[in-house]
């Protein structure tokens, strides 16, 4: 499967947080602005200083798709599988792409797509996927 790089100093704190079981978001110091995806400069204050702050891990499903072939070989065995966009409850402007799964280590096709509803609450869990700990989502 595909994975994000761990070699980018900007985003490495996010992945280190996942490895510790913490969902972090990037917050710029000058403005308090929380952005996603991460970036070097704050578009509000036009400054660089930022921290990674813990989010609650509570979210709701903003939208979802169910992917069918043709797909990359590593994903085809799971098809059809759902992919969700979730909006974080404590940072509603942050929407993350992920998988909704029956449990942290379950397959990406472990939730019946027909039961997924836009707006339903989910919470973050973490699992290792191809050598990197990633956030995933289970029903709250």
């Amino acid at each position: 499967m595909l994975r994000a790089t761990l070699d980018d100093p900007l985003t490495r704190p996010f992945w280190d947080g996942c490895a510790r079981g913490e969902l972090l978001v990037q917050q710029f110091t000058a403005s308090g602005n929380v952005v996603w995806p991460p970036r070097p400069m704050d578009p509000a204050s036009r400054t660089f200083a930022h921290e990674w702050v813990a989010a609650s891990g509570q979210a709701s499903i903003w939208s979802f798709v169910v992917a069918h072939p043709p797909l990359l070989p590593a994903y085809a065995e799971f098809a059809p599988y759902p992919v969700v966009v979730v909006a974080l409850t404590d940072h509603p402007a942050v929407r993350m792409v992920g998988n909704v799964v029956a449990s942290a280590d379950a397959r990406i096709d472990s939730v019946d797509p027909a039961t997924i509803v836009v707006g339903e609450p989910v919470r973050v869990v973490f699992a290792e996927q191809d050598g990197i700990t990633v956030p995933r989502w289970t029903r709250a």
Binding site: L2, S63, A67, L71, F78, P80, G98, D130, V134
Partner: protein, 379 residues
């Protein structure tokens, strides 16, 4: 500025010519169409996805000294921008005869960009691809599901887009889907690609090329074809834009690229959406047509599903759209065949000609930095 020549190759799958040779054929046809000798061409506009091709185009077509050349990025968002940039170059004296084109060999499965992803992602795709949101269609499907949730848009309404373009293609013998009409039942029974989108919500994978020739409006009036004026044009890269990952933007259903292009486009025009008799709207995926109808002001936000009902985009509808079949039923050339069809409509020579089509809107890809043109007759 005016478009005075259009050229298009055969369109289809598995054409024997290379992408470059297809480009040469289309450009040659466009120059023949307007009777301008290739040695007079001094400006070239193309897509960044055809890198370093100006040199070879010049030495094969026997062009003269090129004094202006430019490329526009972002794939299907750049089509109208190539024409707009060429018009601006002529207006500012950088060149006199400009050619814009797009050539594609896409029908080969190996040419699918998404299928060639590296395993470790360091760019923006690292935030969407690993969970399995692998393809452009998945990203558009994510927005379409949200559109359905917020506005109540239905699959039957979305089907109107595919059915309308397929109906237009039945009048265009050169269209890939000529002779293959589509019914609502067939649409609803089609295999899924990325729910809520099915096979027929996707464009074709095609080979082919199309080209246009631009000169000043004054010179255009001395040439054999009726001039098609560039009445207005605009590009759009909205604030906090995220390419195809539009679900990351501030207000994804309302801040798409057309929201940045449309205000300038209409402010530069002395017509409005109600004056547009025929439209060519970028249709790599059917939801993009709904988003463009809203973004360019043909209806309010959220009302595109109702707007397209009853065959509104089809032959004889209130806004005939993609009248040669578009990317979904003629060929997918990154939207450039929408430009050539727009020119034919304003000339009055289209296979599915719309009566009194004196104003045509042509748009490029929504969900990437985009561009749009208003074409208008000279009379």
């Amino acid at each position: 500025m005016a478009v005075v020549g259009v050229g298009q190759t055969e369109l289809g799958k598995g054409l024997p010519d290379t992408e470059f040779v297809l480009a040469l054929r289309a450009i040659r046809a466009a120059l023949d169409d307007c009777g301008i000798d290739p040695s007079e061409v001094d400006g070239l506009a193309s897509y960044t996805m055809e890198p370093d091709r100006e040199v070879e185009v010049g030495r094969n077509l026997g062009l003269g000294d090129i004094t202006w050349f430019s490329q526009v990025g972002y794939g299907g968002g750049g089509g109208c921008a190539t024409v707009l940039h060429a018009a601006a170059a002529i207006a500012t004296g950088q060149c006199n005869v400009a050619v814009a084109w797009r050539s594609r060999k896409r029908a080969d499965k190996a040419s699918r960009v998404w299928a060639q992803s590296p395993e470790v992602l360091a760019d923006y795709l690292q935030w969407s691809r690993p969970p399995g949101l692998l393809r452009p269609v998945d990203e558009i499907a994510m927005l379409m599901r949200r559109h359905m949730h917020e506005y109540g848009t239905t699959r039957e309404q979305l089907a109107e887009v595919a059915l309308a373009f397929r109906a237009h293609a039945q009048r265009n013998p050169g269209a890939a889907m000529h002779g293959r009409p589509l019914t609502l039942d067939a649409y609803l029974d089609a295999r899924w690609i990325s729910e809520p989108l099915c096979l027929f919500d996707n464009c074709l994978e095609s080979d082919g090329a199309a080209a246009v020739v631009l000169v000043s409006a004054e010179r255009a009036r001395d040439l054999p074809q009726p001039p098609v004026l560039i009445h207005a044009g605009a590009q759009g890269l909205p604030r906090q834009h995220n390419l195809m990952a539009a679900y990351f933007s501030d207000d994804p259903l309302r801040d798409g690229p057309s929201s940045a292009a449309a205000p300038l486009l209409w402010s530069r025009a002395d017509v409005g959406p109600a004056d547009v008799k025929v439209a060519q709207l970028y249709d790599a995926f059917s939801p993009l047509v709904l988003f463009s109808l809203e973004g360019y002001g043909f209806c309010s936000r959220g009302e595109s599903g109702g707007f397209v009902e009853g065959g509104a985009l089809g032959p004889g509808g209130r806004l005939p759209t993609n009248t040669a079949g578009g990317s979904m039923s003629e060929a997918y050339l990154h939207g450039f065949n929408l430009i050539t069809e727009g020119v034919r409509q304003v000339r009055g020579t289209a296979s599915g000609q719309v009566a009194d089509a004196d104003v045509c809107l042509v748009t490029s890809g929504e969900c990437v930095p985009t561009s749009a043109l208003l074409l208008r007759s000279d009379s």
